[in-house]
């Protein structure tokens, strides 16, 4: 199942004949409507710390494939000192993703170990795990409520994760995520709100994501710009060599 970023883009086709009481079917329908063979966007992040200090970062994100069988490269374009820093994410259908970070200043790539994925990604309020995409079958689901035009679904990861469970709020009319609350053993860790939905190539897509880190009391807004789906992309551009190749 998509953790955070991918959930920003969701489809809104008329509800098909399905059991809307089965939470797995609901998530499956979300994935189906969100499906695209590739995606590219330019993201602007504003990280606001507890003391209201704001740091702005920008990245370019490209993905090939979809849900549990995809690869993505995310590369910073600003601020100037982190320009070129990249993250390669190789998602697997049956396990957590593989991730490598490339730092051009030292000319080395570094594998991000599974136990380190709860760390914040480059000073933002996203963790490394939040950037990966997981298939629907990597979670168990429970429908908690069905009211106010939204479903509230509990999701528990079957594989290793920093989160014990999460709550999803999904709009019934267009199968789009509205909010996620992610919990660990100690309680609420992160909230994610999806806003400013627009249809792009028939896919309902959030143009703004707000992540709030409960422990640090800081939040990050991610604005999606120049977002496009189903662009022609090559598998060779999503390898470790490709990560190292570009400036």
């Amino acid at each position: 199942m998509n953790r955070i970023l991918f959930l920003a883009a969701l489809a809104a086709l008329p509800a098909l004949a399905q059991d809307t009481r089965d939470p797995r079917q609901i998530i499956l329908e979300v994935q189906k409507r969100q499906h695209s063979d590739s995606q590219r966007y330019e993201g602007t992040l504003e990280v606001t710390s507890q003391g209201n200090q704001v740091a702005t970062k920008r990245w370019v994100y490209q993905r090939i494939g979809s849900f549990g069988n995809s690869k993505a490269i995310l590369r910073f374009t600003a601020p100037a000192e982190v320009k070129g820093v990249g993250l390669l994410i190789v998602n697997h259908p049956d396990r957590a993703s593989d991730q490598w970070m490339w730092r051009p200043a030292i000319g080395r790539d570094q594998r991000i170990a599974l136990q380190d994925r709860s760390t914040r990604f480059f000073g933002t309020d996203f963790s490394f795990e939040d950037l990966e995409e997981r298939d629907v079958d990597q979670y168990n689901y429970k429908l908690l409520s069905d009211e106010g035009g939204m479903w509230k679904i509990e999701s528990r990861p079957r594989k290793s994760s920093q989160y014990e469970y999460s709550y999803f709020w999904i709009k019934k009319d267009n199968y789009t995520f509205v909010r996620i609350e992610a919990y660990n053993k100690k309680g609420l860790v992160r909230t994610i709100d999806y806003k400013n939905y627009e249809q792009i190539k028939g896919i309902w897509t959030a143009r703004l994501t707000e992540v709030y880190d409960v422990t640090r009391k800081s939040h990050t807004t991610l604005k999606y710009e120049k977002l496009e789906y189903n662009l022609p992309m090559k598998d060779d551009d999503f390898t470790l060599q490709a990560l190292r190749r570009d400036l």
């Binding site: 100037a80 593989d98 030292i106 000319g107 599974l114 136990q115 380190d116 760390t119 060599q241 400036l247």
Partner: protein, 403 residues
Amino acid sequence: MMDAGLMLVVLLAQSFEQRGFIEDRAVVYPQTAPNDSGRVVDELLVREEASYKFTPWLTLNGGFDARTDSHRQTARDWTLDATDRSIQRPAFSVRRLSATIHRGKVTAEIGRQLIRWGKTDILNPTDRFAPKDYLSSVVDTDFLGVSAARVTYESGGDTVDLIWQPLFTPSRTPLLNQRWTALPPQAAGVNIVDAGARYPGGSQYGARWNHIGSGYEYSLCFFDGFQNLPSFDATFSPLTQSVSLTREYPDLRLYGGDAAVPLPWLTVKGEAAYFTSSTPGAEEYALYVIQLERQVKEWSFVGGYAGSVVTREAASPLQFAPDRGFAKSFVGRAGLTIDANRSLAIETAVRVGGSFVRFEYSQLFGQHWRATGGVAWIRGDMTDFLGEYRRNSYGSLAIRYSF
């Protein structure tokens, strides 16, 4: 309708990437050294890196450094150094000038470039195509580019790297009349003359196979070339009552490997290499590093041990060998990301005869400015690699503008 000229500008802009910075770094040494009375050294560096993608498969890369300093460690002439083999640091140097060709599973880079091998962070015994600039510090260094052709084949989890370096690039050593050259007490009063270097001819070759498995990575590598750290040939001149020191670079062959294995609680990384030499009198030895890594919330921890085993002693003790100098050490690093703009780092190396600890605080101001302040403390015996720099503890402040 967009006119042709504007369209061309837009297309060019999409294919051109650049980054760079201007940094001024001041280092204050509370103590003078026997061969250096200076207490303050200021260095200015302008670095620009750019790439232009001509086609999806062809990219031209360039990197350029311009420097000056207050201590005359950097040359003060207006020539552009394309090989970086000079004893002094050049005022203008080409750090990278290469073409990258990418076709399917093959990537080739030809020209001046930076090549890094190895997985560990503390010390990289297998990193043989990465000479360093030790001129202004042996504990805080930068990498030099090399002129080489590199072909990489990547298929699934396997990568094969083949490198040919026709022109040797040495590591740049501290100048003999400055504090990071630690002369033995017996040299006091002796007129020492820097007689430059004798660079080896011939090419260097290397091959590396890296395999990425599910939850582990390892690689095996081979290198045949020259040691980029010098031995010194000393010649006494009775006429001038002076000793001339000439840098020499023995043959070197390396057999090595590295591995990284993430375990449930931490990541274990290891790297080892065995070095042989056909040069008479050159040392033969093995270097190995084992390190553990862990991230805990905003803290990152790296700790480990770097060891060495000598199988043939060097005939001459006159060597500059920081890779060996940091061996037989427990080394650790801790970093804290305070928030999106601020970070702390502590780094240490502890040996039987000497120790080093550095503390750094860094803060970003706005989108472009960063200030980094640090303190380094070095202690030990004069017979120890670290201890011989015990008068070189320092405080530093660097201001960087990135663009």
